[in-house]
Amino acid sequence: MPSLKDIKTQINSVGSTKKITSAMKMVAASKLRRSQEKAEAARPYSSRLEEMLSSLASSAASGEGIIKLLTGTDNDQNYIVVPVSADRGLCGGFNSSINRETFKLVKSLEGNGKKVQLMPVGKKSRDFFNRVMKDQIIESFVDLNVSSTGYASALNISNKLQELYFEGKFDKCILVFNKFKSAISQEVTQQQLIPLDVSNSEKEEEKENSSNAIYDYEPDEETILQDLLPKNVSIQIFKVLLESDAGEQGARMAAMDNATRNAGEMIDSLTLKYNRTRQAFITKELIEIISGAESI
């Protein structure tokens, strides 16, 4: 049976853990609010860009050069997969679900005879794939801090991807990231980034609008597309980074909330045990005194 002192130290240590987790929870909650605002603020730009693109996309027949971002190369042998994880842990299943999903995707693509390369974003996925598929990593991005560096961080990734694409290093690029659904739930999502998937442009209503509208293009459709497509890649990445950032804070908040609750329960049960043991000691001493008195 543990002594009273042992139980006391245990209660104290669980208590300080609880303090830490509840502080982390509160930090995550305030960061979540900020990331959500950032994600919100980025929405007008990306939705406008998508609208423009969908009205232009039809005019791109087949292509050379930049238009390839839309039409694709004629191959689909070489894939590049970009898992977007967090830089830090302690956020529940956030990182491991990304890694698991990416791993499955890579295996299934390889099963179909494709060649797959990886470009992990975030320390957690870089470290994971460094262990399991080291030779397939061509580049990794860590310490992005998208909420403070903003758009520039997305630009880096997008420039690298486009450079590789035009060198003919890959034919298709797939992003794997946590889509922010609500503060407590994230959904692992795959999105094809290159070539651009215009068929999934969501709003039917707007499509009708844009087909009614006959625009003059300056200088001409193709030139605009050539400007628009690379920007679209960057902005998609930016959007994904922001979503993932908000998701990370949400996941951390939920994980820390759980941890705080568990610590509370543990303290309760330890306190109960402490009191029982103390009671048992007192009873034992009383019995000893009484039986000693009787024997005189």
Partner: protein, 132 residues
């Protein structure tokens, strides 16, 4: 006189959103003056000044954009720009320094930045469009 609604959007946030009288945007093939009832145009932009005027033709705000796109229809003008700064927050000496630094490097990227910086310098030195 009627007004036209004008949105200036950067990837990070919505910078300007209001009903205005006239906007001048730096189209790739030349500046576009946008008034209410403008025909539908989609244009890409070169680095330059975006000028916003009230209904009675007073300059309300002026921005520098490093490129982007404009979508114009009779009721609305939307400018998507990659980086936007307000013109009067730019400082001439720091831009000149930037140009000097960029001029010594030789890469495709710095060339692009150089042309943007030069346009920036031009944007704060010239004064046409201050009054229309």
């Amino acid at each position: 006189m009627a007004t036209i609604s004008f949105d200036l959007v950067s990837p990070e946030n919505l910078i300007f959103n209001d009903d205005v009288g006239t906007i001048i945007v730096p189209g790739k093939d030349g500046d576009l003056g946008v008034l209410p009832g403008h025909s539908q145009v989609m244009s890409s932009l070169r680095p330059g000044r975006v000028m916003v005027y009230s209904e009675d033709k007073n300059l309300v705000k002026s921005f520098f954009v490093s490129g982007g796109f404009a979508e114009i229809n009779p009721e609305k003008c939307i400018v998507l720009a990659e980086s936007v700064v307000e013109l009067n927050s730019l400082d001439k000496s720091s831009i000149e320094k930037e140009i000097e630094e960029l001029g010594s490097k030789e890469s495709k990227e710095s060339e692009e930045q150089l042309s943007i910086a030069k346009a920036k310098l031009e944007a704060i030195t010239v004064s046409f469009y201050d009054k229309i």
